[in-house]
């Protein structure tokens, strides 16, 4: 069973083993924004010195180099242990189009 960590509308699913990741995301201000609220402007952020963030075809992958907290304006901080995690944004069904992202 994979390890899963949920903070509101974002889930971090631990990847088995290490994969070769390219396409890193640079952080302009020392923080990585993992997901952003559409209307509220709230964000799921991590300290960029503790993690590497990569863009992949399925979304984002965060590599935690040292235990780190994910912060959000409304949710309690979420601690992520060492490892590689898929960042999965929650979605919702719409009858007319492809599923949309959930924004909290």
């Amino acid at each position: 069973m994979t390890q899963q960590y949920v903070q509101g509308d974002v889930m971090f699913v631990r990847r088995d083993g290490k994969s070769s990741l390219t396409n890193p995301v640079k952080s302009p201000n020392g923080k990585h924004i993992l997901a952003r609220g559409e209307k509220t402007g709230h964000t799921h952020t991590v300290d960029a010195s503790a993690v590497d963030l990569f863009e992949v075809a399925t979304g984002k992958v965060v590599v935690v180099k040292q235990p780190v907290f994910v912060y959000h304006q409304e949710h309690d901080p979420l601690e992520l242990p060492l490892g590689e995690y898929d960042v999965i944004a929650q979605r919702q069904y719409t009858a007319q189009e492809a599923p949309r992202r959930v924004y909290d």
Binding site: Q4, Y5, V6, Y93
Partner: protein, 159 residues
């Protein structure tokens, strides 16, 4: 010929029934009110009211065209969606409840047309998230929102 006309009438009623009612119903009601006011002596000359009633389809068409032209037809959509929303939340019922949340359904004659939500609670409040109509349990619905199978969904930590 008659069969074709009957089919056309049914088609128009099914697809444009609301608009047809909106165009036609106000006319006899308005004419009756004007006639009644005239009979009661409340109005000496109801010709203006009659004219408005009889011209109602034209007036409604002009109103709609102006609204669309001015880009404010979103008010119509907002109104209709508000009604849809109120109907939906009034008829929805609890289907399944488990440790992940609750599955609610607004029934429809065809299962593919029913609307389903999972109701989940966290520190920030209660959230209603729409899920596909083929979902059977709350666990399956919540797992679907995270792109998972029901048996895969098992969060270690949730904040």
């Amino acid at each position: 010929m008659a069969e074709g006309l009957r089919w056309l009438a049914m088609y128009l009623l099914q697809h444009y029934g609301g608009w047809i009612l909106l165009y036609i119903i106000p006319i006899p009601i308005g004419v009756y009110i004007a006639y009644w006011r005239e009979r009661q002596g409340e109005s000496s000359d109801s010709s203006f009211e009659y004219a408005v009633c009889l011209a109602w389809p034209i007036i409604l068409t002009v109103i709609c065209v102006v609204f669309i032209w001015q880009g404010i037809n979103f008010l119509f959509r907002l109104f209709v969606r508000a009604i849809d929303f109120l109907i939906l939340i009034s008829i929805r019922c609890l289907v399944c409840s488990d440790e992940t949340g609750e599955l609610w359904r607004a029934p429809a004659p065809n299962i593919d047309l029913c609307i389903q939500w999972v109701k989940v609670q966290d520190k920030t409040g209660t959230h209603w998230i729409q899920v596909p109509p083929n979902i059977k349990t709350a666990r399956e619905g919540v797992a679907w929102t995270y792109q998972m199978k029901p048996e895969e969904y098992n969060p270690n930590v949730r904040t």
